[in-house]
């Protein structure tokens, strides 16, 4: 039958255990080697300039790394991997790629499935090459390497993990389409996290003109227009906030405030941190460190959600592709299917409750 290699899939569990440490949230990727490598590269590489003299960041960028956003418990207190761990992770990523390329042959039978159910269609999204391994144990820098959520946010994150684990909560949400998450509604990827978009969401393209930087995000035809001409922030709140940029040497620094607090992440637990609240101050630093690598650093400061500001360092890779059209709603069957699914869950729950009531009489 189709699966021949499955006998050896006991080994897969071990591989997946390792891989799970490496796999990230939203298509993440690869801190090449953060600060050390970047500083070394910077010594031998000169950032190109636009005709009007700004550092030239214009390209299509994506994150292709194996480093997770948050530090796995196994690496608590440790910001970098050892040489042996780098080798092990590289092997694991290569094996994972080989298994994915083998399709069903490389996967365990459904009965033994270790599919991450939250990762819809992950089979389709493999980039075709192994994720890049860096020395970092997490994209988030510092001794902790974790998102410093407030206790209220930790509760929300835990509830969302339940949904990802296939335990849909009661009372049910998804009562109406208005309760769908921001991305389910095809509204926007949001600003925080957009640069980490992976194969499913499509890459980002940076365009520049005198006094402006524009960032296009493929998945929701999102765009950010960032003035760099010294103007102050405005006073209108919006989904994408109000970004103002400036150049510090070869680095573009962008500060975004005035988010509208409309973004909604009810179940998408891994990206809860992307919520754009009115109290969020989001600062990004873009530095091209070689022809194909953009060092992207971001800091989120939001006392409503985090106990302190936190920073992540993300090496983005240049792609030689063009952005494609992405009409998110053209076939968003999930809207109808989800509402239908939830009505079905409600019906089943009501019947179960009725039976229980009759039994207890």
């Amino acid at each position: 039958m189709i699966r021949r290699c499955l006998a050896s899939l006991g080994a897969l569990a071990a591989v997946m255990a390792v891989v799970s440490l490496a796999s990230v949230h939203a298509g993440g990727q690869a801190p090449t080697a953060a600060a050390t490598t970047q500083s070394a590269a910077a010594k031998t590489w000169t950032s190109p300039r636009t005709p009007w003299g700004d550092p030239d960041l214009q390209a299509v960028w994506t994150y292709e790394g194996a480093t997770p956003l948050q530090r796995p418990k196994e690496f608590a207190g440790r910001e970098f991997l050892t040489d042996a761990e780098v080798t092990q992770r590289t092997q694991a990523e290569n094996e994972k790629l080989a298994k994915n390329l083998a399709g069903a042959d490389g996967r365990p039978p459904l009965k033994e499935s270790t599919l991450e159910r939250g990762a819809l269609n992950s089979f389709w999204l493999e980039s075709g090459s192994a994720k890049k391994v860096s020395r970092r144990t997490s994209l988030i820098v510092g001794p902790d390497g974790r998102i410093p959520y407030t206790s209220g946010m930790l509760k929300r994150a835990a509830a969302q993990e339940e949904v990802h684990a296939g335990r849909y909560p009661t009372p049910f949400f998804h009562q109406t389409w208005l309760e769908f998450d921001t991305e389910e509604r095809c509204l926007t990827h949001g600003v925080p996290g957009a640069m980490l978009a992976g194969a499913g969401e499509g890459p980002n393209q940076i365009l520049q003109s005198p006094g402006y930087v524009v960032i296009l995000q493929e998945s929701f035809v999102d765009r950010r227009t960032i003035p760099t001409d010294g103007r102050p922030h405005g006073n209108i709140r919006s989904w994408r906030g109000d970004s103002v940029g400036r150049w510090e040497g070869d680095t573009l620094v962008v500060e975004t405030i005035n988010f509208a607090d409309k973004s909604h992440y009810r179940w998408a637990g891994g990206i809860l941190w992307r919520m754009a609240t009115q109290t969020l101050r989001f600062v990004e630093r873009f530095t091209r460190v070689d022809a194909d690598t953009l060092d992207y650093q971001f800091t989120l400061e939001d006392p409503a959600r985090f106990t302190r500001p936190w920073t992540a360092v993300v090496p983005l890779t240049k792609l030689s592709v063009a952005l494609l059209e992405s009409g998110c709603h053209e076939g968003n069957y999930a809207s109808i299917n989800t509402l239908s699914g939830v009505r079905n869950l409600e019906k089943a729950a009501a019947e179960a409750a009725k039976k229980e009531k009759e039994r207890s009489r």
């Binding site: 949230h25 399709g103 499913g200």
Partner: protein, 141 residues
């Protein structure tokens, strides 16, 4: 091989190995992890639409009755970058789908894996350095 529809209702022990790579919508609200299905059928239509592609197949059940299923696939842009074209999954091709059925009981599934019935892999030869327009081919830079 015999054509068959195996509706495998099993308790699936999930490890939840990793955080989601990408999920445009909530799996738990739409598909039933307790209803894994294996379908062998003939492609009747492929919808190359956002945010997910959908593959329509006709499945011949053991009693000879033909049932139409639709199977959710990856986003078209991602598939394109993996080297997929409309010729990659032609109408009439026989495929085997493993996935999870919709909660509402419709003949609709999330496609976990798809393989051609003759054993060919969907991603055959399209991966690794040199994959069409994946940005990895140094000669294209």
């Amino acid at each position: 091989m015999k054509t068959k529809v195996a509706a495998l209702v099993v308790g699936v022990g999930m490890l939840l190995a990793a955080a989601p790579l990408w999920a445009h919508h909530a799996f738990a609200a739409e598909f039933d992890s307790n209803k894994p299905v294996m379908l062998r059928g003939t492609i009747t239509k492929v919808e190359w639409i956002n945010p997910h592609s959908w593959v329509h197949i006709n499945v011949k059940e053991p009693d000879g009755k033909v049932t139409s299923w639709m199977v959710e696939g990856g986003p078209p842009n991602a598939l394109f970058r993996r080297g997929f074209t409309k010729e990659a999954m032609p109408v009439g091709a026989e495929i085997v789908v493993e996935g999870y059925q919709a909660i509402d009981g419709a003949k609709r599934a999330n496609g976990r894996d798809i393989t051609f019935a003759d054993g060919r892999k969907l991603f055959l030869g399209s991966s690794g350095p040199g994959a069409p327009d994946d940005g990895k081919d140094p000669s294209k830079k």
